[in-house]
């Protein structure tokens, strides 16, 4: 409000300029953020939907989503580790040189010479472990809470793509240091890609259709792990796979919104919301009837929002963002602590004539490595391929429409979970003890044809037993959900036990040892 008297006197150009200059920070802020500080509900809503980065969230969030025992924040934890990995990865790219001569030394430089380099490398390495773990646990959470059910089937499939690409990122990153561990893990991995040759050999058609060889050459750009493989892996790890992952994370988040927000049970009592943020205004602002927003009519099919009163929502700003930032900071803190406690490994430079003994893959591939030690094709291609396909199809084979959003929503799920866990644990342990003590077919019949070993080995035996068990549950209970619960539980228990077994009890020459301290010196 300028003064009346001064009104006829025009301010000089310089004055205007100086005033503008003085107000520069404020005017810039006003231009960037069009609303006031998020002090009112209205401004808080605007903060969410007028910001590119925040608008993937809805303006209000259901209180049930904050329940720590529901999601355990695992999806956010996966995303947080990915963001940290991208940042540290970009920094590592400044010094890393993807060539046979330089790769190993550049990692050494990063580790020992570059200021903060070791911390950066450690965080990147630990971040990869934590991300795989978080994604894995997140998938278990989504399954166990029945959250893949209609209308979220497609997002479960998107999730499986994220799962596969996450593992692909780990695998391709493993080669880059070009040390002994890297070289031999990649050699084994690439040969696994080439292992369909076992089958084409048995059928005698390798000369005509060498699927395995083609896969391997596509991956390595050659027949052996060398410069071509390093360049391809570098490209996959630093460009293609992160792009794919980012795109699909975008789709994943978009679909969460389009599928009606997160899954939740149809009746939510105040008791179930204990420990979640509260919004008193919501009580008054929203009518008592379970009315939905007008826009919901545009969304096809029924959505969860219809079932739940908007009364149980709170402002996303600041509640949801506090929650997300808390998880981000927690993950970052865990990574920094781990990075100070334990360094990322760097063995001697790659030596193609002497393998690391034992040459162990990173922990999440160790279960597969155990299976591969029975049959390369079955353990490395067929069984994991079937597992991924089976997981992907779960929402289309189990179409029950019961509750979702709570752990073990259907009757009898807990007991099927327990019995399947016990069944699979016993079956796996017996198989492992048996093979360690008595060997397998070739030890008894040295001239047995390879194709029989490919078809009948501890890996295929376990897989068939798991399938048989689940079909039995399916038949007995008549519930596809319980059948899915049985096979999923067997899969998880199998993964955990085989991983532990290969990590702890396999030593040089892949022999059985009780502890690593008993390994012979070599």
């Amino acid at each position: 409000m300028s003064n009346q008297v001064e009104n006829d006197k025009k301010p000089s150009g310089l004055d205007t300029f100086l005033t503008n200059l003085k107000h520069l920070p404020q005017s810039f802020k006003d231009a960037a953020v069009r609303h006031g500080p998020p002090s009112s509900n209205r401004a808080a809503s605007q903060s969410v939907f007028s910001n590119l980065f925040l608008h993937i969230h809805s303006v209000r969030t259901h209180r049930y989503n904050f329940k720590k025992t529901f999601t355990a924040g695992l999806g956010i934890a996966s995303a947080a580790s990915f963001i940290i990995l991208v940042i540290t990865g970009i920094l590592l790219m400044i010094y890393y040189k993807p060539s046979l001569l330089e790769a190993y030394n550049s990692i050494k430089d990063i580790h020992f010479a570059v200021p903060g380099g070791r911390l950066m490398r450690n965080i990147h390495r630990w971040g990869a472990h934590i991300m795989v773990l978080a994604v894995f646990l997140h998938m278990i959470r989504v399954f166990m809470t029945g959250s893949y059910r209609h209308p979220r089937q497609f997002n479960w499939v998107v999730g499986m793509v994220l799962f596969a690409v996450t593992l692909g990122l780990s695998f391709t990153g493993y080669l880059l240091p070009w040390d002994q561990l890297a070289y031999w893990a990649t050699t084994i991995g690439a040969q696994i890609a080439g292992s369909p040759v076992e089958v084409t050999d048995a059928l005698g058609i390798t000369k005509i259709l060498d699927v395995g060889g083609m896969q391997m050459r596509l991956l390595l750009g050659a027949d052996v792990v060398g410069e071509e493989a390093l360049v391809r892996f570098y490209f996959l790890h630093c460009i293609l796979l992160p792009l794919i992952l980012t795109t699909f994370i975008g789709v994943h988040f978009w679909r969460i919104r389009k599928d009606g927000g997160m899954s939740r049970p149809s009746v939510i009592t105040e008791d179930m919301l204990l420990g979640t943020p509260v919004d008193e205004v919501a009580e008054m602002a929203f009518p008592t009837k379970n009315k939905t927003y007008g826009l919901m009519c545009l969304v096809k099919g029924d959505s969860n929002n219809v079932k739940n009163s908007p009364k149980q929502t709170v402002q996303s700003w600041p509640n949801l963002f506090n929650y997300e930032m808390a998880i981000f900071i927690l993950i970052l803190a865990i990574l920094i602590v781990l990075s100070f406690v334990s360094d990322a490994p760097l063995k001697e430079a790659a030596n193609p004539s002497v393998p690391e003994n034992p040459a162990k893959a990173p922990w999440y591939f160790l279960g597969l490595q155990e299976l591969v030690s029975y049959s390369a094709f079955m353990g490395g291609v067929a069984i994991p391929g079937l597992a991924v396909l089976g997981l992907m199809l779960i929402p289309f084979l189990d179409k029950t429409r019961n509750e979702s959003g709570i752990w073990f929503p259907d009757k009898g799920e807990k007991s099927v979970f327990k019995s399947s866990a016990i069944f699979s644990a016993i079956v796996i342990l017996v198989t492992l003890v048996f093979t360690v003590n008595f060997g397998w077919l070739r030890n008894w019949f040295p001239h047995i044809p390879q194709i029989i070993i490919v078809l009948v080995n501890p890996g295929t035996l376990l897989t068939s037993l798991f399938v048989w068990w689940s079909l039995r549950i399916l038949n007995k209970t008549g519930s596809t959900r319980l059948g899915a619960m049985a096979i999923f539980t067997c899969f998880i228990i199998g993964f955990v036990i085989l991983t532990y077994f290969a990590y702890q009890h396999r030593g040089p020459n892949w022999n059985f040892y009780w502890w690593p301290s008993l390994w012979p010196a070599h």
């Binding site: 076992e198 071509e228 393998p355 030690s373 892949w510």
Partner: protein
């Protein structure tokens, strides 16, 4: 009249998307083709072995760098690759056979599988006699399992 018009329209309305998807498919195929390596950078290495007389009956020579072991017995010379046929680790010559450190495959002294997941016997390489009478080990070419070469006569 009416019908003819419609069928032309429906032909075009099917033809246009088909062209689009068809050209995409061709393009996609060529992209895949691009990533498939044709120039395989694999040096077909030859090792000079010297004269046959340098390898009397009972000789066993390990070429660690080249991942091959050369044997000489009463039936002739032969060279066995130490690269495991399971997943490509390098086996170790133990004096009696070959042991693989990666998943425990074991091979006998001729390279035949005796234990573990390896699907087939170790590869045997070709040994050539050059015009000079010198022997040369050809790591680019393999021979049938059990083919020993007699070079003395």
């Amino acid at each position: 009249m009416e019908e003819k018009k419609n069928s032309r329209r429906s032909f075009i309305s099917k033809f246009a998307p088909a062209t689009f998807w068809g050209s995409l498919a061709v393009w996609g195929g060529s992209l895949l083709k691009f990533t498939m390596p044709t120039l395989l950078p694999q040096e077909t290495k030859k090792i000079k072995l010297g004269m046959p007389t340098d390898y009397p009956n009972g000789t066993i020579k390990v070429f660690e760098k080249d991942r091959v072991v050369l044997f000489s017995d009463s039936e002739g010379l032969f060279a066995i690759s130490t690269i495991c046929t399971h997943l490509g680790c390098v086996t170790k010559w133990t004096g009696k056979g070959f042991d693989c450190p990666c998943h425990g495959s074991k091979f006998d002294s001729l390279g035949e599988v005796v234990r573990g997941p390896a699907p087939k016997a170790l590869k045997w390489y070709k040994i050539d006699k050059l015009p000079s009478g010198q022997l040369s080990l050809n790591l680019g070419e393999s021979v049938d399992f059990g083919k020993k070469e007699q070079f003395y006569v």
